[in-house]
Symmetry: none
Subunit: 152 residues, 2 copies
DNA sequence: CGAATTTCCATTGACACCCATAAAATCCCA
DNA sequence: TGGGATTTTATGGGTGTCAATGGAAATTCG
């Protein structure tokens, strides 16, 4: 949840917001896993647990073919980014380039995952979302309506 | 339910009305979650539980795309505001600015959620609501008719 | 042995906790 | 049931701690 903007230093290091770090603290790998978003010029990221779940799903035979393709794609392009003692990661050139990140990065928490954006691009994305939401005449609903609804 | 006006001190702290606090007491996070309202110059707030439900909804595949956009928007702009030992939160600059809150804040209970307004703006909002209701010739119905009706 | 990467230290500034006081609501008992 | 006693709130301020950031030292690897 929420978004934090942190600086990328000359060596390509960024602090992962402490909130996110503690959320991942109990996982098997002390760091994050990131891969280029398929939808945006941004990075998708999570803890290793989510990735292991995906990889487990890949092995499951019942999985539809499209889902398998998607999972393969994601796994193949994912990078493990370990924390340094201060809780920073280094953004590999490839990932930074995909998201056009140079001097600072916006960490956008989405619940169990988060995204990493170049701050200006994220602002634009946010504005677009807001605009679209307005245009579609969506009002602030009772928040509950956004929750996943149990099928009746 | 009901509205309370509390002061914002020099450090940006405000007491969350005790009533609201006790209502959230049994949740996983000792504090509130707030985000800028899409409709007003005010903040929307709830307990963490509601947000977790939204985040769960975001991951649910069955969710329509527009709802996903809305959920993303809300999650990205939400901030976790923990209680200090006295039951206060600090209003981050960003949120305070959106609601034009400077020296005091009105907490408006709405049932499972509440809003936070700059008191004068809330008074105006309230007056406008009243005015509109009158103009539309609405009378106080039996309160029961306002309750949510079970789907037939 | 040189380049890159990772650990180690140091600084600053924000934030969380501690305590202290005043006002208000609640309790309690004669 | 009135009013004093007690317990909660709300509010202010000081201060220690941790997160974010930068740079140097050290280690790794080709």
């Amino acid at each position: 949840m929420s978004t934090y903007v942190n600086k990328v230093d000359r060596k390509g290091r960024v602090s992962v917001p402490a909130t996110f770090r503690t959320a991942l603290a109990d996982q098997n790998f002390d760091g994050i896993v990131a891969f280029p978003s398929l939808d945006y010029d941004a990075l998708e990221a999570t803890g290793i647990d989510t990735m292991e779940a995906i990889s487990a799903g890949l092995n499951a035979l019942e999985q539809p073919a499209e889902q398998q393709g998607l999972a393969t794609l994601i796994l193949a392009r994912s990078l493990r980014l370990p924390f340094d003692p201060e809780g920073r990661i280094v953004l590999p050139e490839k990932l930074a380039a995909h998201a056009h990140i140079t001097e600072s990065a916006a960490f956008v928490g989405l619940g169990s995952t988060f995204q990493i954006w170049e701050p200006d691009r994220f602002a634009a994305h946010e504005a677009a979302l807001l605009e679209r939401t307005r245009r579609e005449g969506m009002r602030m609903p009772s928040l509950g309506s956004l929750a996943s609804r149990p099928r009746s």
